[in-house]
């Protein structure tokens, strides 16, 4: 009986890991694959390694929170399998409706539902986690705004990320020992930027492992008849890797493809910010969604850029009395400079405002989903474990 339940649990864990692998490989490597810097297969292989690395090290802190912190009792194996079932259900909903349901939040919700049903919920821990869930998107947004408003265009003017034809490196066999040298069209700057892109991808893969391996592994750990932590991490990594090699090919074109719609440089800023937030919180044992941090940083960069202030030079050129903060206004200023209309001329008839893209209502929609996802999993898990108390 125990073996059967364990088998079901491992299968459920693999299903969860497989889906996580698909989506997180997509956002982590989508931009680099889109830019032609790595192939999809290389991406999946590197992903698997760094996910394991992240899960094995920092991920353990999150695993402790999930398996021991949120509920005061020891998880039973059947309860763990039940929790995995609700995580999987959340993913199914996400896949069918194409909405980003954050796995880490669904997981915490399901375990909290179990805690509520059995009266073992550790309110202090859950309050701490929810506080971070509120603070994190704000931090991501704020950093994004700073980057978009002050840093991005400055860096963009100085750094060119490009991919030339031919191999990046080749082996120079003229000497006694073959030494790698630059490929046919490679410049030093290209080599450096390619390496930077790879390193940032690995960093994000690490943070994905730290935050996501516990979702698939934790429910099976910490139970009398479950798996030990090391085995569970290996199983979860293999499942994530499997997802990375298979369905990630599709998600790189959808979720990851969207991230690669934005210039690679901006994508790199987003990746570094989101990975850092996710790694730090995972290190502190707070389950956090990498996707959430990513989306908020992207929105922040766009918003920050859209509200960029007019520079002194432009303001002087047109003698603006009330510098407007919308990007549309800046564009109009620049255009006005080209055709040089007199001061007081009517504005161009149609001015597009970048700010219109980042209306607060757009963000409210995301936040709504982040509230609905974990709430639904809490309610469903609570109902499930209340109706079937024997399972917990």
């Amino acid at each position: 009986m125990v073996e059967t339940v364990l088998l079901v649990g491992v299968v459920a864990s693999i299903f969860v890991g497989f889906n996580i692998g698909g989506s997180s490989t997509g956002i982590t490597w989508g931009p680099s694959v889109g830019a032609g810097i790595v192939t999809k297969t290389t991406a999946a292989a590197v992903m698997t390694f760094f996910v394991f690395f992240g899960g094995w090290t920092v991920g353990r802190n999150v695993m402790d929170t999930l398996s021991e912190g949120i509920v005061t009792m020891d998880l039973t194996l059947t309860a763990g399998v039940g929790v995995l079932f609700f995580i999987g259900l959340g993913m199914l909903v996400a896949n069918i409706f194409g909405v980003p349901v954050p796995t880490s939040m669904t997981t915490v919700g399901a375990i909290a539902g179990l805690g509520l049903a059995t009266g073992t919920l550790n309110y202090e821990t859950i309050a701490g986690i929810i506080t971070w869930w509120i603070v994190t998107p704000v931090i991501g947004l704020w950093i994004g705004v700073l980057i978009g408003r002050y840093i991005y265009s400055w860096v963009n003017r100085r750094v060119q990320i490009e991919k030339s034809e031919g191999q990046l490196l080749r082996l120079d066999r003229r000497g006694a020992v073959p030494t790698p040298t630059l490929g046919p069209n490679t410049t030093w700057q290209e080599l450096v930027t390619t390496v930077v892109v790879l390193i940032i991808g690995c960093y994000m893969a690490f943070s994905a492992g730290a935050s996501n391996v516990p979702n698939a592994a934790a429910p099976l750990v910490g139970t009398a008849s479950g798996l030990d932590a090391d085995t569970a991490i290996v199983v979860a990594t293999l499942a994530i890797g499997l997802g990375g090699f298979t369905i990630a090919r599709r998600t790189m074109d959808s979720v990851g493809g969207e991230l690669s719609d934005i210039p690679l440089l901006a994508a790199l800023f987003v990746m570094v910010t989101a990975s850092t937030i996710t790694t730090l919180l995972s290190w502190a044992g707070i389950p956090i969604s990498l996707v959430m941090a990513t989306v908020m940083t992207i929105v922040g960069i766009g918003w920050g850029r859209a509200t960029r202030p007019i520079t002194v030079r432009e303001a002087v050129a047109r003698d603006v009395e009330n510098p407007e903060i919308e990007l549309g206004a800046i564009v109009a200023e620049e255009k006005a400079g080209e055709t040089a209309p007199d001061i007081g001329e009517p504005e161009p008839e149609e001015v597009l405002h970048g700010g219109d893209l980042f209306n607060p209502r757009a963000i409210i929609k995301y936040v709504t989903m982040w509230i609905i996802g974990p709430s639904m999993s809490t309610i469903l898990a609570y109902a499930f474990f209340s109706i079937l108390p024997g399972v917990a």
């Binding site: 956002i27 978009g148 210039p263 850029r305 149609e350 001015v351």
Partner: protein, 142 residues
Amino acid sequence: MLSKILVPMDDSEHAGHALEYALDNHPDAEVTVLHTVGVPSMMMGDAVSLTLEDDLDDAAAERAESVFERAREIAAERDREIETIVGIGHPARNIIDRAEEYDTVVVGSHGEDWSRATRRFLVGNIAETVSKRSPVPVTIVR
């Protein structure tokens, strides 16, 4: 007699039907096609890439060009000419904000296809929102 008609279009089939309907049923009307770019999507990729462009107006116009080209072809088949406007952000809001200046709005019943369900989920049903909030009569074309 309707003299000014707004036809919001995206790259969907129904949008084409809406324009055909407007042109066929109002032979003397002045038809304006509105296309919205930078529509909010799951990760805001489109919207953000648009703001990161140096010149927002040019970038927006460039992205709208394929839709306008198709619209002009449809119009040319009927020996008609159309005006074009680019909007950015939320399609429904763009339509509703501009609708006042027109006598009617003719919109396709469905936007993008099921494969882009995400976008539709986020944006909501555009035709429905427009029909509820538009200050002028709305025709929904299947």
